[in-house]
């Protein structure tokens, strides 16, 4: 039960040549500077951008040399950078848009609404929501479309400091509560350190590194160790050639 992806081709003048697998659970960050191809990879997985390649999700082939599933036939949840709520629909109708089409599944409306604190927003028009509220609705909407894979394209990058602080606890709770892999695009090292258990780094359209990290960052992983043990571990890590992460 996992995701394996390979994409190769060009978008405009920009080459993409990536190959990676995702663990079956947890949040994998796709990191790299702007222009490294992070969003393009995400769009390829959703089928919104078409490059040559191969994509297998839970043993089901979404794309290879012969197959290319249209976006609406792929069980992905996609959270866009700017939430992209459908402006002609209320919050409730945005949430139910995918739910109606996907049918029943592991994600139940009441639970998702509770998980993301959406109950007070349901009857509101999307135009009157704050940035953080919009993004929470977008996440709920994606989950209710019963995805087997949740894709998030820098969901915090368009938010101001207060909205970020408001939405972060929800994002931190997400990997533990949803049983599907999350691929989370970000160039923010602090964000990645707080949220990710697995990091894929992209550079100029190629995978430049893959590493596992403990959820909650180094503090979280080492919290149970004594001061002394932490120092010894740090020395051992330095000796092994590891550098402190920039988070």
């Amino acid at each position: 039960m996992s995701v394996s992806a390979t994409f190769k081709g060009r978008v405009g003048s920009f080459p993409i040549d990536v190959s990676f697998t995702l663990p079956a659970r947890g949040l994998t960050a796709l990191s790299g500077r702007s222009g490294a191809g992070k969003s393009t990879v995400l769009r390829c997985i959703a089928g919104l951008t078409r490059l040559a390649g191969r994509l297998v999700v839970d043993g089901e082939t979404w794309q290879d040399g012969r197959v290319f599933l249209a976006p609406h036939r792929r069980a992905v949840g996609f959270v866009f950078q700017d939430a992209s709520l459908l402006a002609h629909l209320s919050v409730r109708d945005n949430l139910m848009f995918g739910a109606r089409r996907a049918g029943p599944g592991p994600f139940v409306a009441d639970e998702v609404i509770a998980l993301l604190g959406l109950a007070p927003l349901l009857m509101r028009a999307t135009a009157n929501l704050s940035g953080g509220e919009r993004q929470r609705v977008a996440i709920g909407r994606a989950l209710l479309s019963q995805p087997r894979l949740l894709l998030m394209d820098e969901p915090m990058s368009s938010l101001d400091g207060d909205s970020k602080a408001e939405i972060l606890p929800y994002l931190e709770a997400l990997p533990g509560r949803v049983g599907v892999p999350i691929l989370y695009v970000s160039h923010d090292a602090g964000e990645i350190a707080r949220l990710a258990t697995h990091v894929i780094s992209l550079e100029a359209g190629r995978v430049s590194g893959v590493r596992d990290v403990a959820p909650g960052g180094p503090e979280g992983a080492l919290a149970g160790l004594s001061e002394d043990a932490r120092d010894r571990l740090a020395l051992a890590a330095l000796a092994a050639g590891l550098r402190p992460s920039d988070g």
């Binding site: 959703a46 089928g47 919104l48 249209a70 976006p71 609406h72 792929r74 992905v76 949840g77 996609f78 866009f80 992209s84 459908l86 402006a87 002609h88 848009f97 995918g98 089409r101 996907a102 135009a127 909407r141 994606a142 479309s145």
Partner: protein, 221 residues
């Protein structure tokens, strides 16, 4: 007088409904395609704005005449010609008002952008589904503007309906051609009454369009 008003409203109503059906796929195609040559199609669809109605009326008359190649397939159904018929008038009006339907709808589709459709696709909506559940509702202002413009433009047309309709009372005579004939026959009272009616109608239409525009500007962001 009531008969001519009824013919006019029937013509405008029918033209509006049929033209929206024809213009919507064309506007969609023009808004979504990225080829340069689509602008050739767009220019052809816009020609009726700049051509004199007499030019348009003349070619439509030729096209709807018994000897026209377009009419030949209809001969087996007992239809010899559509010139000087109400059906011919509807076809002529549709051609004449085509740009007034295509432009606002195309503009609305373009203003919407690709994102809402991408969102719909990731939420399991097929292209056909998302066209109806996302594109059409989001472009509703464009559809409303197109419908008002086409209806008003059809009521206001004169050259084309005179050329291909011949202003036959009870069949192809509409308000604008009746006014012309009333003036020719020195019936100024009748001409004045119908003209005043059209002035009032035109004012109401423009006011409606402007209010629509204002609301659109306020609610869009």
């Amino acid at each position: 007088m009531l008969e001519v008003i009824w013919t006019t409203l029937r013509l405008a109503g029918l033209t509006t409904v049929l033209l929206l059906l024809v213009a919507t796929p064309l506007a969609w195609w023009l808004a979504r395609r990225r080829t340069w040559w689509k602008e050739i199609v767009a220019a052809i669809a816009t020609l009726p704005i700049v051509l004199p109605p007499s030019v348009l009326g003349f070619y439509l008359l030729v096209a709807l005449a018994p000897k026209s190649g377009l009419m030949a397939p209809l001969h087996v159904f007992g239809v010899r010609t559509l010139a000087f018929t109400f059906t011919g008038l509807v076809i002529g009006s549709m051609v004449y008002s085509l740009p007034f339907a295509v432009q606002p709808i195309r503009g609305a589709f373009e203003a919407m952008g690709r994102r809402p459709l991408e969102v719909a696709a990731t939420l399991r909506a097929s292209p056909w589904d998302s066209f109806w559940s996302v594109a059409v509702p989001q472009a509703r202002r464009g559809f409303l503007a197109a419908a008002i413009l086409v209806f008003a433009h059809t009521i206001g047309e004169f050259g084309v309906v005179l050329m291909i309709g011949g202003s036959i009372p009870g069949r192809t005579e509409v308000i604008s051609t009746r006014i012309y004939q009333a003036v020719e026959g020195l019936r100024y009272g009748e001409a004045n009454l119908l003209s005043l009616g059209l002035v009032g109608f035109a004012f109401v239409v423009l006011l409606a369009l402007m209010l629509l525009d204002r609301r659109g500007g306020g609610a869009a962001r």
